[in-house]
Symmetry: C2
Subunit: 331 residues, 2 copies
Amino acid sequence: MNHVIHLKSRPKGTPQLEDFEFIEEQRPNPKEGEVLLKTKYVSVDPYLRGRMRDQESYIAPFQLNEPIESGIIAEVIASNNDNFNNGDFVNGMLQWKEFQTTTGKGLNKVDPDKASLSAYLGILGLTGLTAYISLDRIGDLKEGETLLVSGASGAVGSTVGQIGKIKGCHVVGIAGTDEKLKLMKEKFGFDKGINYKTTDDMKKAIAEACPNGVDVYFDNVGGEILDAAMDTINKNGRIINCGAISLYNKTEVPTGPRYEGTLVRKTVLMQGFLVRDHAKEFGPATKQLAQWLTEGKLTYEETIVEGFENIPQAFLDLFEGKNKGKMVVKI
Amino acid sequence: MNHVIHLKSRPKGTPQLEDFEFIEEQRPNPKEGEVLLKTKYVSVDPYLRGRMRDQESYIAPFQLNEPIESGIIAEVIASNNDNFNNGDFVNGMLQWKEFQTTTGKGLNKVDPDKASLSAYLGILGLTGLTAYISLDRIGDLKEGETLLVSGASGAVGSTVGQIGKIKGCHVVGIAGTDEKLKLMKEKFGFDKGINYKTTDDMKKAIAEACPNGVDVYFDNVGGEILDAAMDTINKNGRIINCGAISLYNKTEVPTGPRYEGTLVRKTVLMQGFLVRDHAKEFGPATKQLAQWLTEGKLTYEETIVEGFENIPQAFLDLFEGKNKGKMVVKI
């Protein structure tokens, strides 16, 4: 037998377990040119919430009563494709199934001797690439500048902060528990941390943690924390809009203070970033990330949940901030 | 005697004539190294509203009971400075005075035989430079793209639209009277015009005028028109935040729909622009503008008000949209 997870209903507001459905089906057999894959690690990510919505976006919405897909590390357990052998490990956008067949298109082999398999979903996967390429293309960090990061103990945020330190910046992170702040400072080398859940006045807290103002704000959350960062942004500041998790589950159009006055007055740049648009840069970026990892300049945290049946709950836990670093499910 | 205009009080909301004060003083005499200038044309611009506010900005606020300053064309009527002769015409940031002395620092000579004196405050001055450099640095227009412009019959907007046509774009302008729309289309060659005052549903109107969506939005106004443009922006769209005249006279923090979700989803770039930051590009940009002007590819409109005593009213009229093209006061 094979287990599969379908999107059963489009979430209204915060996704619920009932929005997902477990299906049993026959285990597939690979046809000519195909490989049979056994899922090893499944990446769960906040952006998947967007694909559950039926709206035009950078990537097609999930269909109801069809499998969900995300970044997955799988093992080749049968191959009718000359490019793959039994025992190969591959990384790709795959479906939430225990077993699946594919033509091999879009799969990249990964080496379990160079890094742990789950790292290829995180620091050496799209999360690491998001941090590296967005800072390179939009952030344009200069030594001595101040970098502010929200979602700072998360997979992308913690990598962003560490790259900021490699570049010689003053790095301040925002997160939601004191445990996360401790992790940021002790493991990832952030200079300062702000707990947004226990801080009444975020504008004041950011201003105090960033005495020279904010040159680059890497935003994973949007909403009121973005408002507070905007208040402290420096002339010619850059804001990387990588995510807006605080808005993803809103059912009405979210409103807030208008930014255009500040954008003009301080000639601020705000730019949305999607790592998929930058596939041409993946090669050199991965090489740099792997080198820093080997040199010990970069480290990572991951939260590994076990069991195929726990994938939906692991996804829901992202919105509660229950993960530290990259959230993956081990099958 | 010499007449001078002071800022008497900081406007609350919309500026009033009472916020200005006319002062009489002795006509100054140039000291060693100085020139005596007679004001010929005074530029009045929406951004001056910002300097009337007592807040940190890109340029120091005006001081109460001190002269206001703006772009001015003046004639040298006495010179103790080897770089200037009687009869020279100069362009500079000067005070609202009939006569003034300066060291000559920051003054540029202008040639009345090459273009009308007032053009050096408009198409060949900061307004033309704003249009040209912002499109070059942020807009990155490509042939066949759609360019949307607000404040489109104004000095900057009409130049932006014409450059869009030179670059082979579909150009749509937004303005507040049918007369202005006619001017945009007949004189400046815009493809379509939208009268925001008589249009109920701006989102729909923009979508209809821009069937391929908006690639570049040049924003002079901010507020609800920006919201509508954001609704139609294409993947990888660019928004040039050049002004936010709809917000300048607000006394409370203006609010609106949050943009960060769209910025991420469509990887949109928004960037504030201030022409003063790009002084190094003025030389080549002015040369290009002058060439287009000579070739007849670029034209301009100006509203010339006469009389030193009418400077404050001309400034107030900007917020009523009473100008067509660049507003200048001839002394």
